[in-house]
Assembly symmetry: C2
Homo-oligomer: 389 residues x 2
């Protein structure tokens, strides 16, 4: 396999937008293409992530239409990927695999979603289709419920009083809102305190409003090429050091909601390919769709032993100058969560961090970054490890 690099990256501001998916994806892509010092005609394939375009704007088969907006060549195929929240990460992984393999030299990958536009009730209901419909969604399960169950199981398994766990969960939200306040592209750019989280309306016990990420509109895109080619085009390529993707069945098969088996497998693949371990990671963008999700993630990714990660935010270990900076962008919680774009925005943030372009939220001396995206109720996990030279 050839060494693979990320050239340019682009993303829209996340939040509430009046633009269509195609408009948002075009905006993000043209920024990425411009940063790459290439033209749309140089792109050899498009890997487009989108989850619910058919419900958002009656648009399936979005690949060729994004392709057309960008003016890509006819012989550059456009393919739509969908893997729930991990959609864009999976699209980027496939793009990078095919560049590494020598099938393509320069490709565009990313995702777009108009999830805020739908409104939270409809988005929650339609997005529950990423659970298993026959046995899970039909029983009334939606994602707040999934993660609420995980929080209860975590408290029970590790003998943590729920009230204590909730305070630590609140600190995750406070930390990510603080990070988001430093990110001009974040959906929410306002600092909050623990009291705000603990006094929020109850969504799914024990998850209150500020334990939950928002649905957002937004798009993000990256240009991927060989490392060889990257050197000729730009002065600061960021390299893909390792990737992983794994799958697991419905919750009744997984059983233990506190250890996400697909994540354990996926990140092991990525660490192994990169020849590193969690101790080498300086910065991570991970899947904090709910506050408990960040706690589960920092454990399965190897930063903490199981049952030991919950006080990390409270102790300041996951913010700037901490043990590992988690979600400097604000994460899904504050940067926002346009489902099919989220993974690409995580890659965007890590690339910017490794280039040292993050101003106030810059993680000092960051050289190795990890992307972690979880799809559905733990059915898909995809990881990408990036490094500067």
């Amino acid at each position: 396999m050839r060494e693979v690099a990320i050239l340019g990256v682009g993303m829209t501001k996340f939040g509430i937008s009046s633009k269509t998916n195609l408009e948002m994806f075009t905006e993000a892509s043209l920024d990425a293409i411009k940063e790459s010092n290439i033209e749309p005609g140089d792109i050899q394939a498009l890997f487009l992530g989108n989850c619910l375009g058919d419900f958002e704007e009656a648009q399936a088969h979005m690949g060729p239409f994004a392709h057309s907006e960008l003016g890509l060549p006819v012989d550059a195929p456009a393919t739509r990927f969908e893997s729930a929240c991990a959609t864009a990460t999976v699209a980027i992984r496939h793009a990078a695999l095919l560049v590494g393999a020598g099938v393509y030299d320069v490709v565009l990958a990313g995702g777009t979603e108009r999830a805020a536009k739908m409104g939270t009730p409809l988005a929650t209901r339609t997005f529950a289709m990423a659970c298993q419909s026959q046995y899970e969604a039909s029983a009334g399960l939606t994602f707040p419920g999934v993660f609420a169950m995980a929080a209860h199981m975590y408290a029970s398994r590790h003998n943590i009083p729920l009230a204590e766990l909730k305070k630590h969960m609140a600190e995750v939200s406070v930390k990510n809102h603080y990070h988001g306040s430093l990110n001009p592209k974040a959906h929410f750019q306002k600092k909050i305190d623990v009291e705000t989280v603990l006094s929020g309306i109850m969504v799914a016990d024990p998850l209150q409003l500020f334990d939950c990420c928002p649905f957002s509109d937004g798009a993000a895109a990256v240009v991927i090429s060989t490392a060889e080619k990257a050197k000729d085009l730009i002065k600061n390529p960021i390299y893909i050091a390792g990737m992983g993707q794994a799958s697991a069945g419905p919750l009744y098969v997984q059983r233990d909601l506190t250890r996400i088996i697909a994540r354990e497998s996926s990140v092991k693949q990525a660490y192994s390919e990169a020849g590193i371990g969690p101790e080498d990671v300086d910065v991570v963008e991970l899947h904090d769709c709910f506050t408990i999700a960040e706690i589960l993630a920092i454990e399965a990714l190897g930063f903490y032993d199981y049952g030991k990660g919950y006080p990390a935010a409270t102790k300041g270990e996951t913010t700037f100058k901490g043990k590992v900076v988690v979600n400097p962008s604000g994460g899904l919680k504050a940067k926002g969560h346009p489902i099919g774009a989220t993974g690409a925005a995580q890659v965007y943030e890590i690339v910017k961090q490794l280039r040292g372009e993050c101003d106030e939220r810059q993680v000092e001396g960051a050289r190795i970054g990890l992307v972690d995206t979880l799809g559905g109720d733990f059915g898909t996990v995809c990881n990408i490890i990036l490094r500067s030279r």
Copy 2:
């Protein structure tokens, strides 16, 4: 790139089914796995095609659930692909590319759809989302309308009286129903005559009922490995000789509906990679979603010059012992069209033909076969060329 082969293939009977997408895909996949002399635990990745699972049974993110039904390993990632009608072909192409590249050695790819279950009016309406929603679907365009316009343009451009063209289109339907009558897995297994076609209800002028393929329920799957490995596992591997995929924008960009530019590009890639031309193809499964679509396809694939393909069925040139046997399975018209499964069923048929396992519908001495799948209103085309040793 390593040489790639197809081991086992499986498909459900197409038609109206009471099974879920997961049940149908599992049935097809287990047949394919059994034929391959492997176990589910040997599969290293799943490439699953599905278009409208969210509308059919409120099921998005179908990859991991299919993965779980089959008992695949956690470290074998499952990814859902969607490229309208070309969905499964695109999934299979990506699977084959990654096997060729050395990323995987043995993978499963295919698709499933429960389109009949929705009923034709709802399926027609929801599937119109594969047109461009902002400018096309919002103007009332559905697929019968797209191909009706193509038929009118074909008649006009080539100076063929519409009544004459319609008779030749009817012969395509008669031919494909005849082929379907020889296929125990076809949705329709009944021969019809030209009179039946020309007396059918009008769907979208000039397309009458029997000019249109049905929506079907069904699934199909194939196991793909390296040619090297295939030799050790089965006695009759079929080899992937070439592949192509291309994309084009909405109709207002494409303009000429009689020449599908994505098909011209895609099949050129496939012929070039295989080192053959149309004259070398013995059998083809192509995208006859409407009778006019088969005529457009045999021209863009190079079997006929533009404007010369319309009498091919009438002359018997596209049936057994003809110039090139087109849709021996019955095609979308008679075998049926479970959208996200169609491309995999085309591969299934070509593999069976090249193995000589097609009984009454066997194309004698078939050595090279072509798969052609069209997605949306000409937005995606994917081609796969297969050959026996």
